[in-house]
């Protein structure tokens, strides 16, 4: 029997933190992403040529939403579990009658919800600056949810692995951000020289951005089915790692 009160309490507690720090949790990522729309969409975008028949400002939107979703999912989920470990309040969650799955649903569910919320707000904001078209809204929603979920799981793993605030920042700053910038958020990978096109295919973010962009404009660097499969694969890998974490008690139980 699931501890529904436990999951609910944990989820609400995490969400309350978001709304208590509204400026930092929601306003800040939305504002910084919106600045890209203003600069590239309204100011410079009009002077740039179309990409695959899509105005540059509009072309940017899916990539920028992904950039924000990835960053926020990892940041929220990693902080959500790292902070109680750091201050010691994790004892309560670990001693509560909650299964590992319930703990993950509580923490990761809240981080995913925040990312989705941010994604939707950014999307709405973008529509104010650039002409938007979403040809496959359900596919868009599917990619948005899967990406938020899988990168929240990834962030949760980072939050368990990290034993200092520095480590908490290392993977997002040194790995995720470069991968996102080089993953076709600002360009189509067909613009790259052939060698770089091949190398780029090893970047998992390419598949997320490409699939997500396809749901908007039906243009993609890789087949949308491959994008979906890669996203699901990443989700599966995160689930397997977390299963191992709870099975062994890694960094949670001595």
């Amino acid at each position: 029997m699931i501890n529904i009160h436990g999951v609910n309490a944990l989820y609400k507690f995490e969400m309350a933190r978001t709304f208590r720090t509204l400026a930092q949790s929601i306003v800040s990522p939305v504002l910084s992403t919106s600045l890209y729309f203003v600069v590239f969409g309204s100011a410079i975008g009009s002077r740039m040529s179309e990409v695959d028949g899509v105005p540059y400002g509009a072309f940017l939107v899916p990539g920028l939403i992904m950039l924000s979703i990835l960053t926020e999912s990892i940041a929220n989920a990693s902080f959500g579990i790292y902070f109680p470990r750091f201050i010691g309040t994790i004892y309560e969650v670990l001693s509560a009658p909650m299964s590992p799955l319930e703990i993950v649903i509580g923490y990761v569910g809240a981080a995913t919800s925040k990312s989705l919320l941010i994604g939707v707000i950014i999307l709405a904001t973008a529509s104010l600056f650039v002409p938007l078209e979403i040809r496959h809204p359900w596919v868009m929603l599917l990619f948005l949810t899967l990406t938020s979920l899988s990168f929240s799981l990834f962030g949760f793993i980072i939050g368990i692995w990290a034993d200092s605030f520095e480590k908490l920042q290392v993977i997002p700053l040194l790995i995720i951000t470069p991968l996102t910038f080089l993953g076709g958020s600002f360009y189509s990978i067909s613009m790259l020289p052939p060698l770089w096109q091949t190398l780029t295919l090893f970047n998992p973010v390419v598949y997320l951005v490409s699939g997500f962009r396809w749901s908007f404009y039906e243009i993609a660097d890789v087949n949308v089915g491959v994008s979906l499969a890669m996203t699901l694969l990443f989700l599966l890998i995160c689930c397997v790692i977390l299963y191992w974490v709870f099975k062994t008690g890694y960094r949670l139980k001595k």
Partner: protein
Amino acid sequence: MQPIIQIENLSKVYANGFTALKSINLDIREGEIIALLGPNGAGKTTLISIVCGIVKASSGSVRIGGYDNVKQYRAARSLIGLVPQELATDSFESVNSTFKLSRGLFGKAPDQAWLDQVLKDLSLFDKKHEWIIRLSGGMKRRVMIGKALAHQPRILFLDEPTAGVDVELRQDMWQLVRRLREDGVTIILTTHYLEEAEEMADRIGVINKGELMLVEDKQVLMRKLGEKRLFLHLTQTLAKIPEALAAFQLDLSEDGLTLIYRYDKQGEHSDITQLLGAIEAAGLRWRDLDTEQHSLEEIFVNLVRK
């Protein structure tokens, strides 16, 4: 009656090879207050942490209310409330919101009336919506206890609950613990303050170097191990103890004015009458006498030294 907690052959060896617990066996009765005493690093907190599911045992088993704490962890853990040694609180949350979280985590439906009662019992009601960071150390300690009580546990673990708190708060906490016991809550207390154990516990367990050296009813323990001493204050100075009194193995104080008689540890079969007769026969006069029993602290120190 089945014990509410049964610990069998519980051992813990940490990854670095340190043996924290060595085959602990302990039954805890429902409704009692048991104090676990031991020096730093003795294994008290490790024992509590394993029972509560925070640390994994290397071997052995724990049953709580009849439920295995690993295989039936939901049922087992829902009976437990834990107040850890460290002051670990969500600084930027209100007192009430952390209470609500605690209650929910343990599978209980929201019940603000109960939480209000806990807040009142702990004199925290006027701080209900205050951020925890703004509370004093003593108040934070109360918050920790309140969180553990938020889900109405049948068993409460208090790991050094009064460490670093002032006398008034300590007295308040002792009162609270007594009230909880009256309500049927079983309390497992670890403490450095022997006075605390002496004041509150029904039974005392002594842990040292990962071993449970003894578990005994407090009164029985004090009777068994509490050596009694009789001090006879003489009217004249003695240079040495007379030969006639040699059989009583007396000690003489440095100033030669007090005879000290150590009698049997049970305190039941002493030879005080014979001793007093022998002293009179030896021509000694005494002006006063008093007796002294070892405190729990002395008993504890003696046990740990062994």
